[in-house]
Structure formats: C-alpha cells, structure tokens
Symmetry: C2
Subunit: 355 residues, 2 copies
C-alpha cells in the first residue's frame, strides 16, 4: 500500500473479500445487490461491511477487526464504507478500488459521497498478491484437487456405453458434494461434444469409440479444483492413441520446465509449436493460476511473459479440440517449489470406459 | 424500449442474459473477466457477444440471431459491442445499460468507444419485465421447487440425533444433484445456529431438543428453488410448538390474501404485526419474487408498496430468529393467478427428526 501510495483499500470482489477477510458472505453468490466491502486502511482497524442478515454467518470466520452490518433496502455497502472513511478522516484519501468489479452505480455513489477522494485501481495489485500462495492455501487447493482427480477417474470407470453424459455428470456431482465440495462448472463432453469447451453434460448417450472429456471444476472451503481427464469408450483407435500421446508428451515437457524463473511465454511455445508440428488445433492458453478463483494470474499464453515464482499454483492443461470430431485434454494442478515443481494431481494414460 | 426512448439495449448481468438470450455462458459463474453482452436493438438483428471459447457451448440454445465471439486476452465484450453499434449506425444512440452490474472499467471503455452515445440505466426496466413469468418459466420454477420440498423433507427424515448438520447437508446436496440441479446456498442450522440467517452446514451434531432450519436454495435449467422447512429433534417443547404455530398462522393468513391487486406492504404488515403481538423478532421482509435469481421484485417488505399481478412467482417465508436460542422459518413458493394464487410447494406441520 505504501508503494502504491494508498491510504485505504475498499475490497469488494468476492475472491478478494475471501483473500482479505477469510470468509465469503453467502449472498455474494446468490443475491447480486447484496454487495460487501472490506475496508483496509494503511493505519487503523479493518472492517468487513456486510448485509446485516449475514453478520452472524460471517463473524465466526472473519479475520478483520470488525464486522459492520448494513440494513438491506435502506442502506448499501458503499455508502456505509464512505461514512466509515469520513469518520476515519479519510475523506480526501487515496482510495484503492477494483475497477473491473465495482459497478458503475456503486462507484458513482462512492464518488458523490467522497468528492475529494482520489480513486486508484487496485485490481492488478490484488491479483499479484493472490498469485503467491500461503501454505494454508496450498493445502486447501491440494486437498480438493486430489478429490477432483480421484472422483473424476473413478466415475469414468463406473459408466459404460449406453449411459448418458448426464449420468456420468451426476455421479461426479454426488461424490464431489459428499466431500463437502460444490461443483461450479462440470464439463462432460462425449463424441463430437468433447470438442466443445465448457460443455455441460447432456442426455447424449456414450457410444463405443467416443472420446469423453471431463473437467472437474468446483470449490471447497473457498478454493477451486480444476482437473481434466480424457477417456475413450472401448478400444481406442490408433488416431486416439496418437492424439493422446502427443498431448501427454507436451504435458511432460512443460512439467519438466516448471521452476522459478521459467517464462509463461516459453511454456506456451512448447505447446503451440508441438501442436503446429502435429497439425492439430491448439488453444489460446495452456495453463493458468488456480486459487480462490478458477482462472487467475499467471496465464500461460503468448501474452505478456510472466516469470514463475515459488508457491504459485498453476494448472497445466494441453488440449486439442477438433471441431465436429473430438477433443482431448490433460489437466493437472502443480505447485511451483523453490527449485522445481510438485504435482498436486497426476494424469496417467488415456482412460477407458467400458464398451 | 419505445416508451423509454431507447435505441438499443446492452444486457450483461447473468440473469438478464438468461432472460434475453435463453442461455448462460458457463464462465459467467466462474471467470469474472469473461463478460458477455446481448445487443438488442429496437430495429435489426440481435446478437450475443461471448468469449470465443464458449461460442459452441451457447450456440445450440441461444435465442438471439447471432453469437459473436471475442478473443480472450486480446478483445473484450464491451469493445466488441461498441464496434457492433458503430457498424449499425448507432454511435450516437440512446443505449440501455445495467448500471448496477456494468463494472466501472467496462463502462469507461464503452463511453470512450462511443463518445456521442447517451447511456440510460435499464436495471429497473429489466427487473419489471422479469417479474411477470411466462408459462415455461412457471413450469421450470414449479418443477425444481417441488424437488426442493421433497428432498428437504425426506432428508430431515433420514437423519437423527448424533448426525451432523453436514451429514444432512450432504444428503440434500447429493439428491439435488441427482435431479440435475445445483445448490447455490444450502442453509442447515441446528440449535442456536438455526437463528443465523444463511448458515451453511457445519460439523455441529444434532441433539435432542434442537430446532433445525433448512433452506434448499439452488438452480436447475436456470431457475431457482427456495424452500425452507423447520424440524425439531425428538419431541418438541410447548414453546417450539407455539412458535411454529404462530408462524404457520401468519403463513396461512398471508397465503389467503395473495391475489392480483394485493399490496406487498399490506402483506408485510400481517407478518410484522403478528410478530410484534407475539413479542417475537421479525425479519425485514417476509417474501420476494423468485425466478432466474433468488431474490427479485417484488419484495414483500415495508418499502415501496407493489401491487401483485398474475404470473408473479413469489416466496412467502415467515421466520423468527431468536439469537443464541433458535430460529424457525416456513417458506413456500406461490404463483399469483388471475383470481388468487396456487401453491407450488406446501408446508405442513412442524417436522420431526428422530432423537
């Protein structure tokens, strides 16, 4: 904050509230108007401003000094935050806000309430901080990641030709829920649908020869899992074996290169070049940070190169989606260590579904 | 649109995208930066602008004339929308935007791209439209509402003293997932925790004499369920019976009054007055609209009075939360018909959990 010359941060995006206060007000997922706000001054006490009805739900877990309630329908989080800043003598302060989250109307309320303040975007600053995980964060991610891998692989072994994508999806959902997790975007695509990114399970029936791609995306205790696996119904063709082999080789080559100092752009090149050589379609990224959110910095693409650093957790997910035919993907979660990396999940060979 | 003198709407909030385009781009739940935008001109073709990787996922279900992809990391939804408006000759148009959703940064991009445009907030206009449900919407809500009621009541019958809130929560989650639904905010509070609004299930063990309050909040096929039930572990005390009886009577008195023309403020008075007479704490609303979102217009509180109209779907949820002791709630979903109402779910007596 000193470096950015900020007097106070107003943190409102759900992932940054979790990061700052250790708790997600439940309504932030379900009732869009119930905004919450962490007030984090450079000096003085911190507070989480939250809709009054959720004070009791957040208080036991909240790390901040105080939980300040606001009355729904009568008050709003931003006005209460502005009043708090005035009371603290911060009316003309440099105030950090998340410009990619704060709704236009809420910003205008803030601006009108604090006409002498200077507003500074802190979206990047928060994203950079979240990039490097603490040990507790790593433990949470590793734990739900292993769950996602185990459940995904086991459930592929429980269905067979004649079952639907939905049946497979339901199995995964049930087991994931049993562990206390909540799926946020389960991908189950079979046959030509395996080539559709983020395809939800449908009533399509699994048939002998189908490629089946699943991606177990969900959260538990505020941290995400993102593990993708590919299977074939029955005996894979030579083409399917070769396709998977190409991805697996790219996957391994990238994993070998994961260490502090490695550049995201170089890692992406390994993937892009291999796919171009093989004449296969490739995706616009081959990895991303994972944490409270599903996709966060660093992105492994051909944009701005970022240097990997210890305690980043990233997903590596070489994928090829051949439209109208089939899509394959291998996605593992990896921790960057002081001198290399540690796999939090680990993909094996092309999986089989009984024909 | 003619009435509001709007040339074009840019619809970006998830619930309004579902309402306008019939489909939710999957990432809108998981990747905050992947904004989407429906372009709805008064004249000419409509389009859904969506991150390129999800074109295939939304296209089969999208109602709009076209799905326009934008490239992640290189383009953004708002710039592509602005370009589309310029091409349509709408650079200086009156453009409807959702000011309570559109992030500050995205609005600034829009404004810079279309310096001659006039921007008008359409948040209220869209909320008003969504308030009156179509038959398809009513069918979707009724169907998942019945699921929520059945699962909630059955699962209360499957646990007993000694089980945890989490065990009950997991049972409900699994069964809800089995029907193709996804819980978004399951409430399970036992003992003193039953008085905490929006309390997620914990490892607290159910004990003889506990009040247990559950609220089955989730979605299926883009529509929400919101059904709350109260149970007691073992034989209820006289106080528990009386408390439930008071709520049940309020519930029935409100249900009797539900018809077109009834005022939300009058309905709230029934609840507030009864609770004041009984010396019980009351909530700041006793009902709300239900649809693509959990809480939508009309709100049944003592704010601006709204007249009920046919084809509104509302939740009626008398509740009393006695902090540190116990909380009870009865919540049903109701359709307003041309001359009264039809219960989509129907609560009975105080439920029992085996001691």
């Amino acid at each position: 904050m000193a470096e950015a010359r900020l007097d106070v941060l107003l943190v409102m995006a759900p992932e940054n509230i979790v990061y700052t206060a250790g708790v997600l007000p439940p309504s932030l997922r379900t009732v869009r108007t119930r905004l919450a706000c962490c007030v984090i001054p450079a000096e003085g006490s911190t507070e989480l401003i939250v809709v009054a009805l959720e004070k009791g739900a957040v208080e036991p877990e909240c790390w901040l000094d105080a939980v300040t309630p606001y009355r729904e329908f009568e008050q709003d989080a931003v006005s209460v935050a502005a009043a708090s800043l005035r009371e603290r003598g911060l009316s003309a302060a440099s105030i950090g806000i998340e410009e990619t989250y704060l709704p236009k109307a809420a910003f205008e309320v803030l601006q009108a309430s604090l006409p002498d303040a200077r507003f500074v975007a802190i979206d990047g600053l928060l994203a950079d901080a979240r990039c490097i995980k603490t040990q507790d964060e790593i433990d949470s991610i590793a734990s739900i990641g292993r769950v996602a891998q185990t459940i995904g692989e086991e459930c592929l072994g429980l269905v067979s030709a004649g079952d639907t994508e939905r049946a497979l999806g339901t199995l995964i959902s049930e087991r994931y829920a049993e562990t206390g997790g909540r799926l946020t975007m389960l991908v189950v695509g079979s046959g030509a649908r395996s080539a559709i990114p983020n395809a939800a399970p449908t009533d399509r029936i699994l048939e002998r020869g189908d490629t089946v791609r699943i991606d177990v995306i969900g959260t538990r205790d505020n941290y995400c899992s993102d593990v993708a696996r590919t299977a074939v119904v029955g005996e894979p063709t030579m083409e399917q074996q070769a396709l998977y082999g190409t991805l697996k080789e790219v996957h391994e080559r990238i994993l070998e290169r994961l260490r502090p100092g490695a550049l995201t752009s170089d890692l992406y090149s390994i993937y892009r070049d291999a796919m171009e050589d093989a004449g296969l379609p490739y995706y616009h990224f081959v990895g991303h940070g994972l944490g409270i959110t599903l996709h966060e910095d660093p992105f492994i693409n051909d944009g701005r190169p970022v240097m990997l650093a210890p305690n980043m957790v990233i997903c590596i997910e070489p994928m090829t989606l051949i439209e109208g035919r089939q899509g394959m993907q291998i996605e593992d979660e990896v921790l960057i260590t002081s001198d290399g990396c540690r796999l939090l999940t680990e993909a094996g060979d092309l999986l089989r579904i009984e024909a």
